[in-house]
């Protein structure tokens, strides 16, 4: 991936901890993500992947820790302590969130065009023709025919819904994309198409991304780096192929040898 201009990390995660009562969601997570990097988070179900992702994306408030984000002007801000309006603004401009279930990330009673256009309108676009043209352009980029622009997502297949979700998220040119099991529930050929699309977009737009998945094939294809979680803790990190081909931690070795059904 092409590195961005700045030298600092886009995202610095420092000691992020989230508890559900006495139970650990995720504990003391540290990492830096640089512009253009794609990081995968793997681990079995319940290992804390989604909890961490939601803490990073501002959907959950961590009990401890900092999530430092480099804003467009170069200033570094802790998104945990920034004001809610500012965080929500990031949520619809600089960040994108692709949900596992399209229904969580789409407005099912709004046309495909309206779904893609929403973020544009949210940041002040007020020219119908312009919004629609941009929506059509984005539908094309995610391989949805222009003729479907007025159809609702309920009329789309699962793979198309995911692609629509991606278009809806990327239309404002975000810098950081969060994905929670983006290919979960799709059959293999549909997954492949989606992965290919994501790889292309990540490269063309110079996106940074954090992808949560339990599918090791997905991270091998998409992620530069990997973080392995177990019981809310990070047990291993490194280059994706290194972690998968020469795992150091007992748990990762189990995971890779697919003894574990994750």
């Amino acid at each position: 991936m092409i590195q961005g201009e700045t030298n600092g990390p886009l995202l610095s995660v420092r000691g992020v901890t989230h508890m559900y009562g006495k139970r650990i969601g995720c504990a003391d997570v540290h990492f830096d993500l640089y512009p253009g990097e794609v990081m995968g988070i793997v681990g079995e179900s319940g290992s804390g992947k989604s909890t961490l992702l939601n803490c990073l994306a501002g959907h959950l408030v961590p009990d401890r820790g900092e999530v430092l984000f480099e804003m467009r002007d170069g200033a570094v801000k802790d998104t945990v302590t920034m004001s809610e309006p500012e965080r929500r603004m990031l949520g619809r401009t600089d960040w994108a969130f692709v949900h596992q279930h399209a229904r969580d990330g789409l407005r099912m009673n709004v046309s495909a065009g309206g779904n893609v256009g929403e973020r544009l309108m949210a940041v002040g676009a007020r020219h119908y023709g312009g919004i629609r043209a941009e929506a059509v352009d984005w539908l094309d980029r995610v391989e949805i025919a222009e003729s479907r622009v007025d159809d609702r997502p309920t009329q789309f297949s699962g793979g198309m819904q995911q692609r629509l979700q991606i278009a809806r998220n990327l239309v404002t040119g975000p810098r950081l994309v969060f994905m929670d099991e983006p290919t979960g529930g799709l059959d293999v050929s549909v997954q492949a198409r989606l992965l290919d699309l994501l790889r292309g977009l990540v490269r063309e737009m110079g996106l940074s991304a954090i992808i949560v998945t339990h599918d090791l094939a997905v991270v091998r294809l998409l992620a530069d780096r990997l973080m392995v979680m177990k019981d809310g803790q990070v047990v291993e990190t490194g280059l994706t192929d290194q972690v998968l081909d020469d795992p150091q931690h007992a748990y990762t070795q189990l995971l890779v040898s697919s003894v574990l059904q994750v």
């Binding site: 619809r92 009673n109 046309s111 065009g113 309206g114 929403e118 007020r126 020219h127 023709g129 007025d150």
Partner: protein, 303 residues
């Protein structure tokens, strides 16, 4: 600006069965506080503890409670239902306040000091000594696209109104134009997006007026308000600007070409005519000698 004198129980002597205007004093004070808050934050939906009224929801219990808290014994009260003073709904609300508050009532817009309305703004410009009370079925303009109350409140507080334009976008993409003809959303004082109640969008420009406007939603327990001459902008797109449209015809009775018209089917053969929806406006124009295309015929027949 607004006359919010307390109406002590002594004013209700002739109505032994009821408190003045039906509601007890404490409730009216609570509603007045909500109204004042609404006026202080134009377009903001103030929650209030809606009371049971002796009429079903949908009959304007929100408007009735606001009227009850607003009326004084000296007031002259008018009720219109889609512009007309003589529908069952309008008549029963008028009767209700005649009985419970003993106030004078009128059908003449200019003589009324408090006007309760369902789905219209009178054609005659209102004055600063008048109050217009709207009955509101659904106060939340974002409800159509966002069912969660928690989320819509947050959207209002953070001024996240992109969704409002999504609704208009959907309109254009489906109908080729903004098809929303009623309850057309507005932005108030550059801050809150507000549902003006299901008035025709023809009435939207009139929302900037001299009179105080109060909006009451009974079932949803919300009150909101527009102080006089508050800035009210109808949402639109640059290439699909807002238009305050109406049927492209003059009133067949009074000839008015500037009033909102109802289309009325006259007989079994489908003869139709356009008449002012504001019955008082039409009547006073005809009294002043204005005659529309079919108004003359009617007079002949009457003669």
């Amino acid at each position: 600006m607004m006359d919010l004198r307390e109406n002590g129980p002594e004013t209700a002597t002739e109505m032994t069965d009821y408190n003045f205007a039906y509601l007890d004093e404490q409730t009216k004070r609570m509603i007045r506080r909500a109204i004042l808050k609404g006026l202080a934050i134009p377009g903001y939906q103030v929650p209030f503890a809606s009371r049971e009224m002796p009429m079903p929801y949908g009959w304007g219990t929100g408007g009735v409670q606001v009227s009850a808290a607003t009326l004084t014994p000296e007031d002259t009260f008018k009720v219109i239902d889609q512009g007309a003073d003589d529908t069952t709904n309008a008549v029963s609300i008028r009767k209700f306040f005649e009985r419970t508050a003993g106030v004078a009532t009128t059908e003449e817009t200019s003589k009324a000091s408090v006007i309760q309305t369902r789905h219209r703004i009178p054609e005659e410009p209102l004055r600063e000594d008048q109050i217009l009370v709207y009955q509101v079925p659904i106060p939340e303009p974002l409800r159509f696209l966002e069912p969660s109350e928690v989320e819509t409140r947050k959207m209002h507080s953070l001024e996240e109104y992109g969704l409002m334009h999504v609704k208009l976008y959907e309109d254009i993409s489906r109908h080729g134009a903004i098809a929303t003809a009623y309850a057309y959303p507005v932005k108030v004082e550059g801050r809150y997006v507000m549902d003006p109640s299901p008035i025709p969008k023809f009435d939207n420009p009139k929302l900037e007026m001299a009179a105080i406007q109060l909006f009451g939603a009974g079932r949803e327990q919300r009150i909101y308000a527009l102080p006089p001459w508050c800035r009210v902008v109808s949402l639109d797109f640059e290439d699909y600007p807002f238009e305050a449209s109406k049927a492209d015809a003059p009133c067949d009775l009074c000839g008015a070409d500037d009033s909102y018209l109802d289309e009325v089917i006259m007989d079994d053969s489908g003869t139709r005519m356009f008449v002012c929806s504001d019955t008082d406006y039409c009547a006073s124009r005809r009294a002043a000698g204005h005659v529309g295309a079919q108004g003359a015929i009617e007079q002949e027949g009457a003669a």
